[in-house]
């Protein structure tokens, strides 16, 4: 029997696992997909929000502000890209100014530092591509951007190195109350644990409802995005929001931490918890609305579009804590925006709850530092040349758009919780994430994966399951 089983290897589950791995306990993470970061964590705005959006006193507000403060150190410890580029909320109409003022006041009440309201002139001086008819803007210098994949993967890797076990392709189908714990029924047999953490994203209601009478209801809310070429990455320097509406923060325009431009999301209620399909309507909305607060968007530079689901719980706030009618069952549900920003604080909060309940003791040998994949492209010429001399695979460029070398791909496959699929390689290295969208490097990455994993090309998938990339060989039906 494990001490703790965490259901879900998204950014919340991984953050919780990493925080818990500071303590002496047998912990496992159970994930229905083939890799970490396969749900909401992989398709979102990747924004470390400042914390002025959520109602004062809510968990969202508290954990966002705390998570934001923790992110800098966490990013250093985990060796992941994070940049405090700051954000602007653009108000275009004088009549809406009181709403902007409210955001400012709420931010102050939530403890957000450095907020101030900028005039039209100040806004345009700071961000020249904001629409010329801007009336005022709320500037939040503490807002930032992060790579959600690397954040999630790094948290999981670090947890793994500190002794947390990960079980992939393992879907929890039912939960039974046992003496002193729970039995999690999965396709791969029963997993027993004294404590269960429910970090199942859009499925957190179903997992919760397996053991609790007081039900949760997650309403997936789809967000469509367009990602633009790095050539458009400097169009704005800050994350630019429109004034929030009923369903969320509206369409934002932001640079990504890797230098692309990201535009989105929509907010469309859906019923299918796997419904991450973009729609013509959604993409149309992005085209139409994004241009309202940022001018001259080079929409011809779109290299891909995608959608993610927000795990919106009916109460509107994060649901974190022991379930009322299920002792030892800790929910971490309704983690929608600002989930990425909050995850360091979510991990800390859940770990605190369990530490108290279980009387956990700190390990002496917790390793807080994780080294990311070495990126020759980020090195100076001398260092890069030295790295290639040491390992020539770093001199062999596989992904020509993002200039990713064979050495980086091999590292992604060989490291703890390494990549098993094309998307796994992509999220760890960015190979295939550029303007050609893996047109050139796909066959070569398949070969590397097949070679490293000692399987045939036919066994290589895009993202696990039945997502096979090839289906047979030439003329095999004749």
């Amino acid at each position: 029997m494990y001490d703790v089983a965490i259901i879900g290897a998204g950014v919340s589950g991984a953050a919780i696992a990493r925080e818990l791995s500071r303590y002496r306990a047998d912990i496992c993470v159970i994930e229905k997909e083939e890799d970490v970061c396969c749900g909401t964590s992989k398709a979102n705005s990747a924004i470390v929000h400042a914390g002025y959006d959520a109602a004062t006193g809510s968990l969202k507000a508290k954990l966002n502000v705390r998570g934001n403060r923790m992110m800098g150190r966490l990013a250093e410890e985990l060796d992941i890209p994070f940049r405090r580029n700051g954000s602007l909320v653009v108000c275009r109409d004088e009549a809406d100014f009181p709403e902007l003022q409210k955001l400012y006041e709420r931010g102050m009440a939530n403890g957000v530092e450095g907020l101030h309201i900028l005039s039209r002139e100040e806004t345009l001086a700071m961000e020249p591509n904001v629409t010329a008819d801007v009336y005022a803007a709320l500037y939040a210098p503490t807002a930032g951007i992060v790579c959600p994949f690397e954040l999630n993967i790094a948290l999981a890797e670090n947890a793994y190195v500190n002794g947390v076990e990960f079980r992939f392709d393992t879907e929890v189908t039912d939960i039974t109350k046992l003496e002193g714990g729970y039995g999690l029924h999965t396709g791969q047999g029963m997993v027993r644990a004294r404590y269960v953490v429910n970090a199942a994203g859009v499925y957190a209601d179903e997992i919760h409802n397996m053991v609790c009478e007081k039900k949760l209801h997650i309403f997936p809310r789809r967000g469509d995005y367009c990602l633009l070429d790095k050539a458009a990455g400097n169009h704005v320097e800050k994350t630019v929001f429109a004034l929030p509406g009923k369903l969320g923060k509206g369409i934002l325009v932001t640079p990504t931490v890797h230098g692309n431009l990201l535009i989105g999301p929509t907010a469309i209620e859906v019923t299918d918890k796997e419904g991450v399909n973009t729609t013509g309507e959604g993409l149309g909305q992005i085209m139409e609305k994004a241009g309202l607060h940022v001018k001259d968007l080079p929409m011809r530079q779109v290299i891909t579009s995608f959608a993610g689901l927000r795990a919106h719980e009916a109460c509107g706030d994060f649901v974190i804590g022991e379930a009322e009618d299920a002792k030892g069952f800790i929910d971490c549900a309704g983690i929608e925006s600002p989930g990425i920003a909050s995850c360091p604080a979510i991990g800390e909060m859940v770990a605190e709850i369990l530490k108290e309940k279980m009387g956990l003791e700190e390990k002496g040998d917790f390793i807080s530092v994780r080294k990311g994949i070495r990126k020759p492209g980020m090195l100076g010429k001398e260092e890069r040349a030295a790295l290639i001399r040491e390992d020539p695979a770093y001199g062999n460029i596989v992904c020509r758009c993002e200039m990713i070398s064979e050495g980086e791909i091999l590292d992604a496959v060989r490291r703890p919780l390494g990549a098993r699929s094309l998307d796994g390689v992509k999220r760890r290295t960015r190979a295939g994430m550029g303007r050609c969208q893996s047109g050139f490097c796909l066959p070569r990455i398949m070969e590397i994966l097949a070679g490293e994993r000692h399987v045939s090309m036919s066994d290589i998938t895009k993202s696990g399951g039945s997502s096979y990339l090839v289906n047979g060989t030439n003329k095999d039906t004749f």
Binding site: C226, L227, A231, E274, V276, N277, T278, T279, G280, G282, L283, V302, I303, T304, S305, F306, K381, R384, A385, I388, R389, P392, A393, G395, N396, I397, R400, M403, R435, C436, Q437, S438, G439, F440, L442, P443, M457, S458, T461, K462, S463, G464, G465, S466, S467, Y468, L469, V470, N471, G472, T473, N474, K475, D476, T477, F478
Partner: protein, 430 residues
């Protein structure tokens, strides 16, 4: 730092023809940098025939066509580095590249020839809605998997886009045992060569659905099907025309984009229509001594034209190096002072021209002005205007965007108009 007279970026058909031509023009120090493990570029995966009718007066496969140039380059002792990626080129022509053996290295070139080719437009550029399962490939990626690796991307395919690679892949997939259910084309005409429509679709009974596009993609892990719909004159789907095609593969042949990231960074001016460098009659860009040819300059349909253009670029680069290297600057001074550049402008019905400026004093006796038209025109004339005067008028039965056009300009004719302000190419009704 190693020094070369001419460094050629890319060892595909353009780079090879340029290298051979530069060497034959008397330049000994020529280096080809190729990112793939062998020379030949995309021709290596084009195993169908139809190459070389103009250049060699015979019908070759892609690898055979490339082979002729590779052999020639070997005979001439042209140096090349394979598996080598160029990272950047400085305006002073220092080329920074990387490979396993040499690591990160820099070369000083006197002249650079850009011959990096192009890439395929991906699904994202079209913003096709739907899921993102496995089984969606650009046609060239599928061609590599099938022709180079021997794997079938899938069993039942729909192809979006009737560019030549899409048409060729419709036939290839069929020959290798897959079923191609339809080729959909957004435009009311095909973007491919007429001969490919006949030989790759009609001969195999594959329907070509003009004015159609993919409006939805189904399948969460592997592709399960796509929905096609007819589009109106503005490319918008017409409600009620949706048709669902179960399939496990969607191939995209929706356009090629010259790969000019390196060129752009070094300061080469690009033409937004071709996405390739703006060049003069010598295929020289706005940076002196930097030349461009092949698909990096503008996307071609026929490799023969690539070879012809690249040979000219190679020859001109060689002449540049000789002028610049000569101790006696007389020739260079005469060259620099001679004539002036006249802009070439696309007129009615013409999308772009290559070159887009001509100095008659610098051109050879004849120069083929290449261009593409913006629609299908029948029984029309291709006209060349020198300012207000029409100097050339050639009858054409039909012109289409899928087939690159060309018209021959005489130096003698140009020299007769010393005060010329602009050259204009236009399509005129019959």
């Amino acid at each position: 730092m190693e020094k070369y007279d001419i460094v050629i970026i890319g060892g595909g058909p353009a780079g090879l023809a340029a290298a051979v031509s530069a060497r034959e023009s008397g330049i000994g120090s020529v280096l080809v940098l190729e990112r793939d493990k062998e020379l030949g570029g995309i021709l290596n995966q084009c195993i169908h025939n139809g190459f070389g009718l103009h250049t060699f007066r015979e019908e070759l496969t892609g690898p055979e066509y490339a082979g002729r140039f590779i052999e020639k380059a070997e005979e001439l002792g042209i140096a090349c580095k394979l598996d080598t990626m160029v990272l950047e080129i400085s305006p002073g022509k220092i080329v920074t590249a990387v490979n396993r053996e040499d690591g990160l290295f820099e070369l000083q070139a006197k002249a650079v020839i850009l011959a990096m080719g192009c890439r395929e437009r991906a699904r994202g550029a079209l913003n096709i809605p739907g899921f993102r399962p496995a089984g969606i490939y650009s046609a060239g990626t599928a061609q590599k998997l099938v022709n180079m690796e021997g794997f079938l991307p899938g069993r039942e395919a729909v192809i979006l886009g009737s560019g030549d690679i899409g048409l060729i892949m419709a036939r290839r997939m069929t020959l290798e045992g897959a079923t191609v259910k339809a080729v959909a084309e957004l435009m009311p005409y095909s973007g491919g060569l007429k001969r490919n429509i006949v030989q790759c679709l009609e001969d195999f009974g594959i329907p070509l659905k003009l004015s159609h596009t993919v409006i939805d993609i189904k399948g969460k892990e592997r592709l399960e099907g796509v929905t096609l719909a007819e589009v109106d004159g503005r490319g918008k789907p017409v409600p009620g025309t949706e048709e669902y095609y179960p399939c496990d593969t969607l191939l995209l042949s929706v356009g090629l984009i010259p790969e000019n990231e390196i060129s752009g960074k070094m300061g080469v001016e690009l033409n937004p229509v071709t996405a390739g460098p703006k060049v003069n009659e010598s295929f020289e860009t706005n940076i002196k001594g930097v030349f461009a040819c092949g698909n990096v300059l503008h996307v071609h349909d026929l490799v023969d034209f690539v070879s012809e253009e690249a040979a000219a670029a190679g020859k001109n680069a060689a002449a540049y190096v000789k002028r610049e290297s000569a101790e006696d600057t007389a020739e260079k001074d005469v060259w620099d002072a001679a004539g002036r550049e006249v802009p070439v402008k696309p007129g009615e019905g013409v999308k772009y021209t290559v070159p887009e400026r001509i100095n008659a004093a610098h051109m050879g006796e004849k120069l083929t002005l290449r261009f593409r038209v913006d629609g299908v025109y029948r029984d029309c004339y291709v006209s060349v205007w020198f300012d207000g005067e029409r100097v050339i008028r050639r009858k054409r039965q039909a012109v289409a965007p899928g087939e690159m056009e060309g018209i021959l300009l005489d130096r003698e004719l140009l020299l007769r108009y010393p005060g010329l302000d602009a050259i204009r190419v236009a399509i005129e009704p019959g």
